[in-house]
């Protein structure tokens, strides 16, 4: 292997002295993570892909990939399309709610909280993540049920009670609550680096606060917004517990459908794998779009 032209002379003498090939260093450093990724991510994903090509395979049967029948099944039947749309709806809605609620909070922590308190406030915000998600969902049942905490509070104020539990709003509430900390953390990281001089310049040049927010703050934090939305969307797409416990009788999502294929009555692992691959595909597509258009808009700055 020839050494690249940019290598400085001192570096090349060092590597000559040690007598190790140049490719060894990155190989040794990246190797463990690479092996980990290969064994735990790439190979399992390939196995799932292989399973998705076997129509109706159950545990104990021989795997003989034979076609795309499992994928056709997803689109042939209205039920499954409905499930796909509902999952996307829950994930997108949650992303929007998290962004709307998370941005002000992240802005507040990054720009207005005194530096010495910042970490404490952040930790306080992330703390709920340490409890089990199952526990959090059960807590929301207690809060949202017809005679629960929320409705007792509302009726004590003379307001009408809300019947939200076992309906889609409850799912949005539960999922947003679970995923908000991720959004805030990522937005915080990007808003912390906000260049205040640009805001001051905008104000000097006569922009009102709203204009400077849309024209200066938002474009600067766009990569953070995109990353936060993506993370929330992906996690939301795979959420299993909130739709199951809070969503009521019509809350079948992709994640639950996959669960039912693997652990339910039919144990149709082939169809379950095809559904999993669809989610992987949707997520990959979202990331690809982000890489393509996310970069362009930040380059416009």
């Amino acid at each position: 292997m020839s050494s690249p032209a940019s290598t400085s002379p001192s570096e090349s003498t060092v590597s000559k002295d040690l007598a190790t090939p140049r490719w060894l260093e990155p190989f040794a450093l990246l190797g463990p993570a690479g092996i980990w990724l290969g064994l735990m991510l790439v190979i399992p994903a390939l196995l799932i892909f292989e399973l998705s090509l076997v129509p109706g395979i159950r545990p104990g049967e021989v795997v003989n990939p034979s076609g795309l029948e499992n994928y056709f099944q997803i689109f042939r039947e209205d039920v499954y399309r409905q499930v796909v749309w509902r999952s996307l709806g829950f994930a997108l809605g949650t992303t929007a709610i998290c962004l709307a609620l998370g941005f002000p909070v992240a802005y507040f922590i990054a720009q207005m909280v005194p530096k010495k308190w910042r970490n404490l406030v952040l930790v306080g915000f992330v703390l709920p993540l340490w409890t089990s998600s199952l526990l959090r969902s059960y807590a929301w049942i207690t809060i949202l049920r017809p005679t629960g905490v929320l409705n007792s509070f509302l009726t004590s104020l003379g307001l009408p009670a809300l019947d939200i539990l076992n309906r889609p709003p409850a799912v949005f509430i539960g999922m947003s609550y679970s995923l908000l900390p991720y959004m805030v953390l990522i937005l915080y990281a990007s808003l912390e680096k906000l260049d205040r001089r640009l805001l001051e310049a905008a104000a000097d040049l006569g922009a009102n606060p709203l204009q400077s927010f849309w024209k200066v703050t938002v474009p600067q934090s766009l990569p953070g917004i995109a990353a936060g939305c993506l993370l929330v969307f992906i996690t939301g797409l795979g959420d299993f517990i909130d739709p199951e416990l809070l969503g009521g009788a019509s809350s079948m999502t992709m994640a639950r459908l996959i669960y039912n294929q693997f652990l339910g009555v039919t144990r149709n692992w082939g169809f379950g794998s095809a559904l999993s691959m669809m989610i992987v595909l949707a997520v990959s597509l979202a990331i690809a779009l982000l890489l393509k258009y996310g970069d362009r808009s930040s380059a416009n700055l």
Partner: protein, 370 residues
């Protein structure tokens, strides 16, 4: 390639056969068996350790500790909350760790089908004669050659007797009183139980394989659906006790537990019949420690132990000698020990052919997604 070979095989023929050979080896290469539970695994387990896989209702610290005190064997118990989860994780490779598993009836049949269960050596088990006659010969496992029943019960309705008047007596009640019950009732999150209830309400069998009957069952449920709050096996308890729900479909074992907390909660087996279940202990072929497994089964069969566990955890024992030791209160508890007239109207869930299972799964997805 020699010319003689070519002369005997035309090129096309050669291509064909070699392609066939190639594809068959490559298929054999990637044609691995999905989640095979191997039974030829060497038994290397520590003889002082027993791993059991069971429902969470059936064990507590006291039980495990007393067993260790009696036998010196340490027990590690893992729990599951549905037969299908148990079976899937068992087959996915977790199964080889366990020496005793607690499947329910149709899961026993499935495990037998998959040849996962060891035939029990009855000479090593004592106390089997105490098991009631009606549990001595299961339809899933003729002659009980592979399992020992440990608990039984029914599926039914748990309701708030203060608020529901007249009280529910049959499945029909759900449809007739859907306005009162609207969004105040839950059904189980078990496809076969829920579709079965609807089948039974129309006079069909829980175990029908007739697509037309299954379709009618689905349609009747779809009709009721707007009134159903949710499908859940567990999350209804607090809401029922708090008065937010008026009725929940559940297992007798849960009905009894809820009634213990609030006597206004009553459990009823619908008049037209419901499903009857038994949970049993089995020893997998792959059991790492059969010695300890037999010790555990013998321990659970001791009348005193079975009686104490029933008093503590409220599940119905099929053990007559243990039943005789129970307090009168518990013995007269009709939810826990329904009279024979009720039991006769109930059905066991039989394993169904794959076609019917797929149909049920499809209706279930429809029901929970539209």
């Amino acid at each position: 390639m020699s010319s003689r070979f070519v002369s005997r095989y035309s090129r096309r023929q050669f291509l064909k056969t070699s392609l066939a050979a190639l594809s068959s080896t490559s298929l054999a290469g990637c044609g691995w068996t999905l989640a095979e539970v191997r039974s030829d695994r060497p038994q290397t387990s520590n003889s002082n350790e027993l791993r059991i896989y069971t429902w969470s209702n059936y064990i507590d610290e006291t039980l495990l500790k007393e067993f260790t005190a009696q036998t010196g064997v340490r027990v590690i118990a893992d729990t599951y909350d549905s037969n299908d989860v148990m079976l899937a994780t068992f087959q996915a490779g977790k199964g080889v760790a366990y020496s005793v598993v607690y499947p329910s009836d149709y899961a026993i049949a499935k495990m037998l089908d998959l040849k996962l269960l060891a035939a029990l050596d009855k000479s090593r088990i004592s106390g089997l004669e105490n098991i009631l006659g009606k549990f001595q010969n299961s339809i899933y496992d003729p002659g009980n050659r592979h399992h020992v029943p440990v608990s039984w019960g029914t599926t039914g309705l748990i309701y708030n007797s203060e608020k529901l008047n007249p009280a529910p007596e049959d499945w029909d009640y759900l449809w007739q009183n859907r306005n009162t019950l609207s969004r105040k009732m839950t059904l189980l999150s078990e496809p076969r139980e829920v579709l079965g209830a609807s089948l039974r309400a129309q006079g069909f069998s829980y175990n029908t394989t007739n697509p037309a009957e299954l379709r009618k069952a689905y349609e009747k449920l779809a009709d009721l659906k707007p009134a159903i709050a949710t499908f859940t096996t567990d999350a209804w308890r607090d809401q029922l006790l708090a008065g937010d729900l008026l009725l929940a479909m559940g297992y007798s074992i849960d009905g009894v537990l809820v009634a213990q907390e609030n006597p206004n909660m009553k459990y009823v087996v619908p008049k037209s019949g419901s499903s009857l279940w038994t949970d049993a202990m089995v020893i997998p072929k792959t059991a790492p420690n059969p010695e300890a497994a037999y010790a555990w089964i013998n321990y659970m069969l001791q009348p005193a132990v079975a009686a104490q566990v029933t008093e503590r955890l409220f599940f119905a024992t099929p053990n007559q000698a243990a039943f005789d030791q129970l307090s009168t209160d518990l013995r007269d508890n009709q939810a826990l020990f329904p009279p024979d007239s009720v039991v006769e109207r109930c059905e066991n869930l039989k394993p169904l052919p794959q076609k019917s299972e797929e149909l049920i799964e499809k209706y279930w997805t429809k029901l929970t997604s539209s």
